[in-house]
């Protein structure tokens, strides 16, 4: 099962490598990992997308909680939540002018950031699955460059992860 785990940790050098090291040392997989400081500059918020059986996910949660730098952990997948990922895509300017491309881009609510030289840079924000779908519809041949942030997640309504 795919799980999105959110955590708050001390915004200190080394904290990120403790989390990353935990996953590699114990053989857990990371699909994506997104991290940045929060409104409280002493805390970082991390979103980890991982896969595993219920037992593995339970261990991941416990092992994360055990890290001294980790202040709070929430498995967002256990309840309603939002998941968003930012993707920047570069295609050739020529491809971007095609009607078919424009239609797909609009379907996926892409926003053109810039057209310069022969290239067009577009921004998308959606779930990881939707972004995957966009790439599949367009096809690898059309794409000059892609960069994705990995998912960020937040609970719905009053499901709040805060210290």
């Amino acid at each position: 099962m795919r799980h999105i785990i959110s955590l708050l940790m001390e915004n200190e050098a080394g904290a990120l490598s403790r989390v990353a090291g935990l996953f590699s040392a114990r053989g857990y997989n990371i699909e994506s990992l997104a991290v940045a400081p929060t409104e409280d500059p002493t805390l970082s918020r991390m979103t980890i997308v991982t896969r595993g059986s219920d037992a593995i996910i339970e261990q991941i949660n416990k092992q994360l909680n055990k890290l001294i730098d980790v202040a709070a952990v929430m498995d967002l997948s256990e309840g309603k939540h939002f998941e968003r990922e930012l993707m920047l895509v570069k295609v050739s300017a020529e491809a971007a002018t095609r009607e078919e491309f424009k239609r797909v881009m609009n379907d996926f609510q892409g926003r053109v950031l810039d057209v310069a030289g022969g290239a067009c840079t577009i921004e998308f924000t959606d779930t990881c699955a939707r972004l995957d779908e966009f790439l599949q519809v367009i096809g690898r041949d059309q794409i000059l460059e892609t960069v994705r942030t990995g998912a960020s997640g937040i609970g719905c309504g009053e499901r709040i992860l805060k210290l």
Partner: protein, 569 residues
């Protein structure tokens, strides 16, 4: 008055009432050693290798309730210490390691003796710190001690760059520690405790399985009281030996790979298993799938939630400080005014007694020609009245010591259970002897293990540590040889210890007494004479039977009821 970082570090150790620091000086810790030189409260034990410093601090911690402290320099100082740190981590031993680092302005420049100490030790410490400002030293050390001993204990590293140890600031030692992201649990959940008690009372084939957590938490008395109140059988893991008295009739021996037949069978066939400070290690329950084939309810008490339901499914999880949880359990049991059904329990004990007979107890065929290693341990047990601190290295001798020395008290059996570190025994014994100066300390080792840290005989001489070393010298890396005999077609690949030194002369060269024992009839007099020498280290080199194997044995990957007894072969 302002103090240097180095002076502050030493003042912190004084505040923590650290009596001994085990270490080795070097460039990056010169200021700290200078500060150490100018005071007398904290005594320094100069080892001959940094690995030994950490093992000695470890033995010091295991045999007392204190935090062990090691002090090493940067680069090779800390890399040499890593094996010791990983050893302590696997067995949850409270320890603070202070390491010097190259000056902060040189970090990252591949400076002389530079290594990323925090990075290298990250997977084998409870936590670690790189101090970047002299103002942080006192708080960091305070936090390090708190982290090391609270919750599930473990080693904590504090890496101090050389320039920081020479900067100055006011010294204020904090009274309290507040780490917002770290709140170890105290008491257990009372609803779960009620459920556990009910389950225990209704059990038909109950089993108490207690591990090293009981020893670390100082909960041996509570465990003993609970087991006696319930009249249940009890097993102690390798790490838990002494947590319940081994000479008691309710004790069924150690479980697992080299546990007793009755302990293995009772673990496998019980209907309610209460695990207390134990972690269902692969060496204890063998094959997980095989273990799960028999349905049983499991109650698991542990300070670390991640130990619960890690390898087996648990029905009643109780997270908390074992001493407190066991007190809660005892109170709940007393309040219930109920006791397990005596007739039902008698049936179970009948079954266990049958297993005891079938297993034949721990036995071996003694000889008048050649020294059997088990015989040496039996004599050691008799002569020391079962009251010695026994450290061991790793291998066959470790298993024989665990089987044949009946530990009635906690903190007497000191071994590297989790990591299985050869070379642990002698330096650990140094720490044990220092914190228990009047106690009898024996180091049971083999000719393989002892050579991994034999240089510490020199430390023992310098600090007058009258350890008794019993080396079961069978000229083989015995456990490796045993596995090669059983599972690799008698191909003894690199397990023969050729070109052994003359250990008697070697001991003498270090300034100690060396004794070679070659005949079974000489074993008892040699041990007696050695232990009568209260002020001397005596190195006993026993020439033992090289073909002897450790039984019973649950082969790797097999289930507990697939245990092999000596006569099966």
């Amino acid at each position: 008055m302002e103090l240097t970082g180095a002076e502050i570090a030493i003042r912190c150790l004084q505040e923590e009432e650290v009596e001994y620091v085990f270490g080795y000086p070097g460039g990056a810790v010169l200021y700290i050693y200078d500060a150490l030189f100018q005071q007398e409260t904290v005594k320094h034990i100069l080892v001959r290798h940094e690995q030994a410093a950490v093992h000695a601090a470890d033995g010091y911690a295991r045999s007392s309730e204190k935090v062990g402290v090691a002090l090493v320099t940067s680069g090779p100082g800390i890399t040499n210490a890593v094996t010791g740190i990983a050893t302590a981590y696997m067995d949850s031993i409270p320890m603070v390691i202070i390491s010097g680092q190259v000056p902060s302005f040189a970090i990252g420049e591949d400076a002389f003796q530079e290594v990323d100490a925090v990075g290298i030790t990250r997977p084998c410490v409870k936590h670690n710190f790189l101090v970047k400002d002299v103002k942080d030293i006192a708080t960091t050390i305070k936090e390090a001690f708190y982290l090391a001993k609270s919750g599930r204990p473990g080693p904590v590293l504090v890496d101090i760059p050389k320039d920081i140890s020479n900067h100055k600031t006011e010294f204020v030692y904090p009274d309290t520690v507040n780490i917002r992201s770290y709140n170890p649990v105290g008491k257990g959940d009372s609803a779960e405790i009620k459920r556990a008690v009910q389950m225990l009372l209704e059990a038909k084939r109950p089993m108490v399985y207690a591990g090293g957590g009981v020893v670390l938490s100082g909960a041996a008395a509570q465990l003993t009281e609970l087991v006696r109140l319930l009249e249940f059988p009890c097993t102690n893991t390798l790490m838990g030996l002494g947590g319940y008295p081994a000479t008691d009739k309710q004790f069924v021996g150690m479980p697992g790979m080299h546990g007793t037949y009755e302990a293995c069978m009772a673990m496998q066939h019980c209907d309610v298993l209460i695990a207390i400070g134990a972690r269902f290690d692969d060496r204890v329950i063998g094959n997980v799938e095989h273990f799960a084939q028999v349905p049983r309810k499991i109650i698991h008490l542990d300070i670390d939630p991640s130990s619960i339901a890690k390898r087996v499914k648990v029905d009643v999880p109780i997270v908390g400080e074992l001493k407190l949880v066991l007190n809660q359990l005892l109170a709940e049991l007393r309040n219930s005014m109920q006791r397990p059904d005596a007739a039902v329990l008698a049936e179970w004990w009948k079954q266990i007694d049958e297993w005891r007979v079938k297993g034949g107890g721990l036995s071996y065929k003694n000889s008048t020609e050649i020294i059997k290693p088990q015989f040496v341990i039996e004599k050691l047990y008799e002569i020391t009245g079962g009251d010695a601190f026994v450290t061991s290295d790793v291998g066959q001798h470790q298993m024989w010591a665990a089987q044949y020395y009946k530990f009635d008290k906690p903190r007497r059996w000191i071994n590297s259970g989790g990591l299985g570190t050869m070379g642990f025994g002698l330096p650990a014994a140094m720490g044990v002897q220092l914190i228990n100066p009047d106690a009898t300390v024996a180091c049971v080792t083999g000719e393989g293990s002892i050579q991994m840290n034999i240089q510490e005989l020199s430390t023992c001489k310098q600090f007058h540590l009258p350890i008794k070393v019993l080396s079961l010298n069978n000229r083989y890396l015995g456990m490796v040889r045993q596995w090669q005999q059983f599972f690799h077609g008698n191909r003894y690949s690199e397990s023969y210890m050729d070109a052994l030194p003359d250990f008697v002369k070697l001991a003498e060269a270090y300034g100690h007494i060396g004794v070679r024992v070659e005949k079974p009839s000489d074993v008892e007099p040699a041990i007696k004479e050695a232990f009568a020498r209260k002020n001397d280290l005596v190195f006993m080199d026993f020439k033992t039977d090289p073909t002897e194997n450790v039984f019973p044995m649950v082969p790797g990957g097999k289930g507990l009821s697939e245990v092999i007894l000596a006569e099966d072969l």
